[in-house]
């Protein structure tokens, strides 16, 4: 599942709601996990997927309510083609265990994202957990139970909204929940819920956005200084004119680079590829080339990024 629409969708999620990950402990790829989180909005599933590093994302399947995610063409396309969800029936039917599809997915070796509240809550802190997580945890003792806390998503897309508001949201991944033998259902639910909320407060700051904000502030100051210098020294001063041109270019450079960094790894790599190509083109323009040599140029260009990806 590495299709382009999926990458674009998750990039879009990162652009609008940030979805920055914080890890209490490093999560290594290859371990089967059951991520469980507080549920406050319809973007929660997407936010967790977007927050996970690509290597961890590979075999992760979100658990999604059939009544929402299987209704309508766009939702069904996103759920089934892009997110590879496990659909769960919230409407109980006699004699059918709604956890059955989850068991099948876990038995097949997939990791799951589960919202144990079963429905979206109105508040930032989660409501009581249902027993599904407890039962799965007992039936699959080898699967790591990783608590995740979604911060701010209840503000980005509260109940009743269909389009998320741009807002910086964070996803905190805690340390795997230890298992206690013969623990009663209620005690486990309480402990799991505490593990999720433990991340609600401290340790969730993300410095990337704060730094970008600071840089823009500095740019504004630089622009004001440039403007003041133009008033003092006059329009014809060459140094001041050059300075102001530089500051305007900086606005463009920082906007482009900042946007790329916010969108994620692939956009940033693409940006650097374009920059490298442009720099290379400038270099070639000034370098004398012999007729036979120019044919080799494209190969050099495509080789360098390839060796970088293989690292």
């Amino acid at each position: 599942m590495h299709s382009l629409p999926r990458v674009i969708l998750l990039g879009l999620v990162r652009l609008v709601v940030g979805a920055y990950a914080r890890f209490a402990a490093p999560l290594s790829p290859g371990t089967q996990r059951l991520y469980f989180a507080n549920h406050t909005s319809h973007v929660d599933t997407l936010a967790i997927l977007a927050a996970l590093p690509p290597k961890l994302r590979v075999k992760v399947r979100p658990v999604a309510a059939r009544d929402y995610w299987d209704a309508g063409g766009a939702r069904r396309y996103i759920a089934q083609k892009l997110l590879n969800v496990v659909l769960i029936d919230r409407a109980r039917t006699e004699g059918v265990d709604p956890l059955e599809p989850l068991r099948a997915a876990l038995a097949a070796g997939d990791s799951l994202i589960l919202f144990p509240e079963g429905t979206r809550g109105e508040t930032a802190t989660p409501g009581p957990f249902k027993s599904g997580l407890y039962r799965l945890a007992n039936e699959f003792p080898a699967v790591d139970l990783v608590p995740a806390y979604l911060a701010n998503l209840n503000r980005a897309m509260p109940k009743g909204r269909t389009i998320p508001v741009p807002l910086i949201c964070r996803v905190g991944f805690g340390t795997p929940l230890p298992r206690i033998p013969d623990e009663p259902k209620e005690a486990f639910a309480e402990r799991a819920r505490d593990a999720v909320t433990a991340f609600a407060g401290a340790g969730m700051k993300h410095p990337l956005y704060e730094t970008l904000g600071l840089i823009f502030l500095l740019l504004i100051i630089a622009s004001l200084v440039g403007f003041a210098l133009r008033l003092v020294k006059g329009r014809d001063n060459a140094t001041v004119r050059n300075l102001n041109e530089r500051i305007i270019s900086w606005w463009v450079i920082i906007a482009v680079v900042g946007l790329a960094l916010v969108c994620g790894t692939y956009v940033t790599i693409a940006l650097f590829m374009v920059c490298a190509f442009l720099a290379f083109r400038e270099f070639i323009t000034l370098t004398p080339t012999r007729p036979g040599r120019s044919a080799r140029i494209p190969r050099h260009f495509w080789n360098a990024p390839a060796s970088c990806n293989g690292r």
């Binding site: 993300h206 140094t239 463009v252 920059c275 490298a276 442009l278 270099f283 000034l286």
Partner: protein, 154 residues
């Protein structure tokens, strides 16, 4: 090829996995320190520049600019240590490595430029010259920073 191979080390930072830290922030740290070094070298050079450093290679580089710009960039690097897995004092030698790499990069590509008889690499960025005029220091600083970080922190 200096500009492509060297530059590719900058996005390669995104492939480093450091527990609890985002590598995009690491890349931002590199870019901010490199460009801050360049900007402050330019500012200090314009304000206090007296002694030319390498008049034949790069007429605008001065000793005062280098010292002032380098020191400013290191201070900025230390202030931004929150972006990285470094502590505030570890950020200083890292920023120093970036400044040195960036300075050498600017000097080397300037020398290439002179030998080809040009002043700027291009006209793409108004005021700066070409893409390579802005990227020259990144080309040299990125590999240095990448390997130092990879060696000590992963």
């Amino acid at each position: 090829m200096v500009c492509i191979y060297g530059l590719s080390y900058a996005p390669a930072l995104l492939m480093l996995r450091i527990p609890g830290h985002s590598s995009a922030a690491l890349l931002l740290f590199l870019l901010v320190v490199v460009q801050a070094s360049d900007v402050f070298q330019y500012v200090f050079g314009k304000l206090f520049g007296r002694t030319k450093l390498a008049p034949r290679v790069s007429p605008s580089k001065t000793v005062e600019g280098l010292l002032g710009g380098g020191a400013s960039a290191i201070v900025i690097g230390m202030a931004l240590h929150g972006l990285t897995p470094f502590t505030w004092w570890q950020a200083a030698p890292m920023a120093l490595a970036i400044v040195v790499g960036g300075f050498v990069g600017g000097l080397v590509l300037s020398a290439v430029k002179r030998s080809l008889g040009a002043k700027d690499w291009g006209t793409m960025l108004a005021g700066h010259g070409g893409m390579l005029d802005r990227m020259d220091s990144v080309c040299f600083a990125a590999p240095l920073f990448f390997h130092l970080t990879r060696y000590f922190y992963t």
